[in-house]
Amino acid sequence: MSGKRLVAVVALVALTAGVAIAAAPTDRVLPAHEYTTEKARALASAHVHALQELSAGIYHCWPWVDVPRNGIGFYRPRGAQQDDRHLSTRISIEQEPSPAFASLRFEERATAMFSRYIPPLLRRMTKDPNVAADPKLDGFTAIVDWPKPAPRGTGRPVSETIAVFIDKASALEFLSGRGDIKTLPSHARVLGFDGETPLGQITLGPAWDDNFVATFKVANYQLEPGVVCN
């Protein structure tokens, strides 16, 4: 292969490999210089590419989901006694809840959203094995917002939120297949929020396998060229 051709091939590979990241917003990941400790900055610097890939994957492959600005990063759970660093991802589900979902109690809705989104989020967050293998990483946090069921026209919409904190060992045990989805909530600390109002730590029921994320398709949605979802 000639030198020119090799350069062209390398450029093409580099170009297509970066399609997913290039087309997705980059402000979803907290920049390294905005952390308050050296440990967090080191994690952020070492895994910036993995976090941008995580962001781009959610952006393209879960198009009904939104990640807010700085929604992904190596955050410390609020009130932690030491500098525990979790890979954290916040997602907002912006679809209209069905009447059946609306009729559930908050804890039941929270369990349903846990079952639906926490396992696939954990899988996405550990797609790059180097992140989970980093000894500086202590756990995972997943924050899920969804619209609080309410009749239309009753004022400004309100979100319900769960913040799920899972230590690294429990998360990896579950992901390896040794842990059971039913008992995963019992290994997590879950905080609930009604709009801005904290509901404190909540107890979820047993979770279940939910393949919605893997099977749901937005009608007529077209992936951008070069993007592959798996």
Binding site: G71, Y75, T141, P149, F193, G195, N220
Partner: protein, 85 residues
């Protein structure tokens, strides 16, 4: 556009009218079908359909629909209430 809005309003009214307390049957229905969402109709606002072509939705269309604030910006907990930098 007006007729689409009208249909959505009608759909919402029907959904609200049929919503009520959860019965075990409703819970079983939700659990079995696991369809959390009633519809994704709002996307139609950003889809530009032309005669003779099938409608396509891109990620940018979805972002535009979101930015247009179909639901308005929701009241939600700030990240700082849960996480520290």
């Amino acid at each position: 556009m007006r007729s689409v809005r009208g249909k959505l309003l009608l759909l919402s009214a029907v959904l609200i009218a049929t919503a009520g307390c959860a019965t075990s049957e409703e819970w079983n229905t939700w659990y079995t079908h696991r369809t959390h969402f009633a519809s994704y109709e709002h996307l139609g606002f950003s889809v530009r359909n032309t005669e003779g072509s099938s409608p396509k939705v891109t990620r940018k269309d979805i972002q535009l629909a979101r930015d247009e604030g179909w639901w308005g910006k929701a009241i939600t907990v700030s990240q700082e209430q849960m996480l520290e930098r």
